[in-house]
Symmetry: D2
Subunit: 159 residues, 4 copies
Amino acid sequence: MIEIFTTGGTIDKVYFDANSEFEIGDSLIGELLAESNIRDGFAVTGLMRKDSLEMTDDDRAAVREAVGQCGAERVLITHGTDTMPETARALLSVTGKTIVLMGAMQPARMRRSDAVFNIGFAWAALQLLPHGVYIAMNGEVFEAGSVRKNLKAQRFERT
Amino acid sequence: MIEIFTTGGTIDKVYFDANSEFEIGDSLIGELLAESNIRDGFAVTGLMRKDSLEMTDDDRAAVREAVGQCGAERVLITHGTDTMPETARALLSVTGKTIVLMGAMQPARMRRSDAVFNIGFAWAALQLLPHGVYIAMNGEVFEAGSVRKNLKAQRFERT
Amino acid sequence: MIEIFTTGGTIDKVYFDANSEFEIGDSLIGELLAESNIRDGFAVTGLMRKDSLEMTDDDRAAVREAVGQCGAERVLITHGTDTMPETARALLSVTGKTIVLMGAMQPARMRRSDAVFNIGFAWAALQLLPHGVYIAMNGEVFEAGSVRKNLKAQRFERT
Amino acid sequence: MIEIFTTGGTIDKVYFDANSEFEIGDSLIGELLAESNIRDGFAVTGLMRKDSLEMTDDDRAAVREAVGQCGAERVLITHGTDTMPETARALLSVTGKTIVLMGAMQPARMRRSDAVFNIGFAWAALQLLPHGVYIAMNGEVFEAGSVRKNLKAQRFERT
């Protein structure tokens, strides 16, 4: 069983014409998994709808608590990309689980998006990695504590 | 020959992760027409990239001048929805042409968008309507000067 | 009120891996109209699921009867492209209605398809054309009785 | 460097209206990887365009030779799903490489497809699995020699 916690971020952004802007909407992950022929073996819980630049230490504590308390050994967290390394670091104290954080550079609701590839990539990472905390982005696996987002290149890289 | 002038609006918005927001990008209309099997008989000119709430009288004068001076008898204008009725009214002084304004409530780059339907709808309207200025939105044809955008219902309607 | 009758054709083809082939599936037109922000003012009735090369005179008679007996003044018929001109001709005896036949060269379920553009195009044609029978394909309106499908060019043209 | 060999299968099927059917077209994998923000670190070679039910022992020998002779340590093979287990078994004699076979139940060119999820899943599997031959389908990793396609359930499972 894979436990999925959604926290917001670009991946779940929706365009609202009334406001002439995007806002974080319902997570699309359940629908995308179903389209990809994955219909069971997971549960989705929405924890918050935050742009990761707006996440606070309290938010990260809430994520850590939810992850630590869930019964699953494999946990996927969808998250905004900007502060994904910080939340990953905050989860290092959780033991006995393989925890993978992922997100997307383009909302999943766009015609062209890295979201579905990233979900598939993370799905395999969850099954093959030993216990620990990881970021799965731009087709690579990074260990929490030694990864950062290179803002200029718009990619994640090892520190 | 159909002359297409693009002015911006929701229809051409792109998501830029670096800025955590949507901005108006290149018009997608040429690509969408090609996907719909329409490859000739039209030309596309980008006039500006404005959210229609930011269009000024000078902008509308520029649109009117471009439309009035082009050789085509049929003109399609892609435009933000919020002030489409104002620009339509500003074009009433142009004679000898069928002018149709259209846009979309969801960017054409989204998986679910009204953009392509609206383009097809406007394409037929251009060929079947007599000279004059029209708005083609939510599957209806409206005459310039007697149409408004109902913000609450997020639809265009006759005044 | 627009009455929509679906008869099959490429537009509604679905890929079935179990048979390693496509088959005509449920019509997608209701879902595509909803995605395009058109949610009412129409009804959809599935008449048959035929590749148009397999339509018989009895099939065309069934279509003519359904169209003639429906209460709507505007009727949209989705149809395979190969024998669309034949069915259009068979409908010329129906009076008091604007009848538009359309289909697509690529199934609506493909990422790149002319289906949605064609639906939007036909939607406008239905509202703007006088009573009669028409084919709306490749961004043009053709009158029944003077149109054929150019197999080599894969386009409709006037005869 | 990941070496990608394409052999055909449902994943690369294209719809040809002229023939009223789906045929295997150019592999879409390079385009899908670019949309997913993966632009380097791999090469794509088309070996054949076969429905896997039509693959012969000679075809499998050709695949084995190409894989064995390439310089990469990680090899991805896109393949029809019906006889993927047979080709996987035929590759067991290749040493010193992590070889992952994948495909899709719905062509990558459909709006709803498992193709992109499967590519992302396989991309991670290639980086995390030890040398050997594997099938990556329906969100699971299977070892060559102990996997079959359950035709009724339309899923892969361990034997």
